[in-house]
């Protein structure tokens, strides 16, 4: 379990990292390394050069930003997952992210693992990717001395595959902040607490004064090779009273045509069924949360 030989270099800034990346086809960026290093140990990844972006101070921050009249929380790509977990501003403004983060790996991997690294790694079960897709986050990357913004939806195109161009470095993710009576819900099922999710689901809603649903987003992760939104269910449920039966029927219908992953751990039929259960639970939690009721959170199925 030793990595193949490689060269190591610490980049002083993002443009230097991008230039080195563009100059060498075998080069890879390393952020937290909590997936890349084991992949290298197992020789599933054999980069010729590792470009370390951990010490670029400009990539590590959590701050409030307003973009085209939309309030957001911007998080730098190499911000540690544990830093977001402990951050009061992120928890208050993006409560769905705060609900999901404790489910990522263990305390010792969250101490090194980064927000941007998880997004760029694009594991189908990654919680941060699911939340970014569910909330319509915006990603920023740098390539060739230019910064480009792209929507999180569409960024993940398959298992461990993203639309990030060659030679680009993800620099930040911006989560929109919702105003009003907001509620959130997050659930996942895995073999052991903090292990890879077989299925995960996230929901965020805004309630009107009449307790009707003004706005709703529902996302499902790990069931397919990249996180998805249950758009047809969102359209059906928006404006309604979120009756549990209607919610269940809407998410089930939205999940009938997905290409569910099928492997040793869970069959496609299992994933589809559990996705409907967890999505309905996430919506129910979000509904209760928006009304100020206490929510259990991720009640694992074991």
């Amino acid at each position: 379990m030793k990595a193949a030989p490689f060269e190591y270099a610490r980049a002083a800034d993002v443009d230097e990292a991008c230039a080195w990346l563009a100059a060498d086809d075998g080069a890879r960026l390393i952020a937290g390394g909590q997936t890349l290093v084991p992949m290298m140990a197992m020789r599933l990844a054999r980069p010729t050069r590792l470009i370390d972006i951990n010490r670029i101070a400009a990539l590590s921050y959590i701050r409030q930003e307003t973009h085209q009249d939309q309030d957001g929380i911007a998080i730098g790509a190499t911000t540690r997952q544990c830093a977001v977990e402990r951050d009061a501003l992120a928890a208050a403004k993006v409560p769905l992210l705060a609900r999901a983060i404790p489910n990522i790996g263990h305390a010792a991997t969250r101490a090194r693992g980064t927000i941007g690294g998880s997004l760029a790694n694009a594991d189908p079960a990654a919680e941060i990717s699911l939340i970014a897709v569910t909330l319509d986050a915006t990603l920023s990357y740098r390539a060739g001395g230019k910064t480009t913004d792209i929507p999180a939806r569409g960024f993940h195109v398959g298992a461990m595959v993203t639309s990030l161009p060659e030679g680009a470095c993800l620099t930040a993710v911006r989560f929109p902040v919702w105003q009003g009576r907001i509620g959130t819900g997050f659930h996942e099922v895995n073999a052991r607490s903090s292990d890879f999710a077989f299925v995960s689901a996230a929901a965020q809603i805004e309630l009107g004064a009449d307790n009707k649903c003004k706005r709703i987003v529902i996302g499902v992760g790990a069931a397919t090779d990249h996180p998805i939104r249950l758009e047809s269910a969102e359209r059906q449920l928006a404006g309604g009273a979120l009756d549990p039966k209607a919610v269940r029927a809407a998410v089930e219908a939205a999940l009938t045509d997905i290409e569910a992953l099928d492997d040793l751990h869970a069959t496609a039929a299992y994933r589809r069924r559990v996705a409907a259960v967890l999505a309905a639970r996430a919506v129910a939690d979000a509904f209760a949360d928006a009304q100020g009721k206490k929510v259990q959170g991720n009640a694992n199925a074991h």
Binding site: M1, K2, A3, I30, G33, M40, R55, A107, A111
Partner: protein, 164 residues
């Protein structure tokens, strides 16, 4: 490549290959055998050390990445030669170890927890060691050891009337 490594308060200059993990560097170059090599791919937690105060897996980073940071291993937690830290003491007293393979890492995880949270709940203790696998004890005495250590550390330098 030549790196500088600050381990347990001492700065070492070492020549390493870039692919040398922090774990292998600690064990093979600095002869600090307390961090154990279990799975070597981040699953078992036996290699846990403190990296700028946070518990991390030393097999999941390269030694070259550690330049500029402070590393603490199990060898660095004792107050003096032949002495044990309160957490080590508590592990001995409650039989929080059997074969000992996971023990240094469990103790490092406990150190990281108690440094930030002097009065953890049982759930917080379980969460803090959830990334560390033990195949002997069944974890019950490990949780007990950390709770006992926490209780004692809270009582240090405080009058008895306040701790009871």
């Amino acid at each position: 490549m030549r790196i500088e490594l600050n381990v347990n308060g001492t700065v070492h200059e070492i020549e390493v290959e870039p692919r040398t993990t922090l774990l292998d560097c600690l064990r093979d170059r600095l002869d600090l055998k307390g961090a154990h090599a279990g799975c070597e791919h981040g699953v078992c937690g036996a290699c846990t050390v403190l990296f700028d105060g946070a518990a991390v897996r030393s097999c999941l980073m390269f030694a070259a990445q550690a330049t500029g940071s402070a590393i603490t291993t199990i060898e660095g937690v004792t107050p003096g030669p032949g002495e044990l830290s309160p957490i080590q003491d508590a592990f001995c007293e409650t039989h929080g170890l059997q074969c000992g393979y996971c023990t240094p890492a469990m103790i490092m995880a406990a150190h990281a927890l108690l440094a930030g949270n002097p009065a953890p709940t049982r759930e917080e203790i379980v969460e803090a060691i959830s990334g560390n696998i033990c195949r002997c004890t069944g974890y019950a005495q490990i949780v007990e050891a950390i709770a006992l250590a926490a209780e004692r550390m809270r009582g240090v330098n405080r009058p008895r009337s306040l701790t009871e």
